[in-house]
Symmetry: C2
Subunit: 189 residues, 2 copies
């Protein structure tokens, strides 16, 4: 049997009952069996400050090591003031440093943004994509996932309430698997 | 004598010898006498998490109170991975919450972005502007300030080395004063 694809999930909200986190549980539920998705906690990640690079905080060392060995990265984000929540941007910044040691480079990525409103956190999704370009993360382009009305799509246990949402998210994760396999050196399933 | 204009400066880098901080010292040096500019430290600001709103961390309370009584906001930012440093985005997010209590609303703002390279942190500058739109901060449009080669413009004490840089930054601050006065209810100087 082939090794599962080790996919790291980053969530842009620290709230315990975060809707974005619910959605990630849903995405995990519908993901292809080849993928093993692990949510990496970001609550304790120290804010980036280059002065600390001589003795990096343990939280930086842990994140960098975890990303280094991951096959791919799933980023799920709400929108804060039409842009990326700081907790997510900080994770990207910490993993990108010190200069020349960007752990994100080459990791295939998918961005899923979500909001209770109609726009599905489009602003956060695309601000993220500008950073991912610089970080050299090959990012799945289609299907785009701007999940509006997320509070009516997944329940508090992360199960899909709406069939259409389940179907769309299944497609997203199937395509993400195909995308990852373009970059991971292994036989196709 | 009229009260000075109480301007808060936010700096997007925590590094002790930050080039952006140097530039802010330079901007303070050339600012009109009417402006009193205070750098608000952001290093200890807790990461935003809505769950904490019942008992907000003291660092949130302090920031919100300080912005509330400020006349205007000067934002100086480097670029991290073609976008805004998390420390700055977190400050904006903290000040924008809880819902309905956005302390930034109506505060006139200027964005100055800086980098040692040629592009002057354009990416960070404009990602910031997208958030400032939502936060309802009337933001000075011209002159735009994308300060490239900042390491050769200000010395380690925040004094301008280049006359052209001093002149440009003087214009920026003069225009910022005029901009602020459009929104502050007081006689023109």
């Amino acid at each position: 049997m082939t090794q599962p694809l080790d996919v790291v999930a980053l969530i842009g909200s620290l709230r315990r009952d975060s809707l974005t986190k619910r959605l990630v549980f849903g995405l995990i539920e519908v993901a292809p069996r080849s993928m093993h998705i692990e949510i990496v906690p970001l609550a304790e990640l120290s804010m980036y400050n280059e002065d600390l690079e001589d003795q990096p905080p343990p939280s930086w060392i842990d994140l960098r090591a975890r990303i280094q060995c991951a096959a791919a990265v799933l980023i799920a984000t709400p929108e804060y003031n039409r842009s990326v929540p700081a907790v997510l941007k900080n994770a990207l910044d910490v993993g990108s440093r010190p200069y020349g040691k960007n752990v994100w480079a080459g990791k295939p990525a998918a961005v899923v943004s979500a909001s209770p409103g109609a726009m599905g956190a489009f602003g956060a999704n695309h601000h993220l994509r500008q950073a991912l370009t610089y970080l050299d993360m090959p990012t799945m382009q289609q299907p785009e996932a701007y999940i509006g009305g997320v509070d009516k799509m997944v329940d508090e246990n992360g199960h899909f309430i709406k069939d259409s949402a389940r179907q769309f998210c299944t497609t997203v994760m199937d395509e993400f698997e195909r995308w990852i396999l373009r970059f991971v050196n292994r036989p196709a399933p």
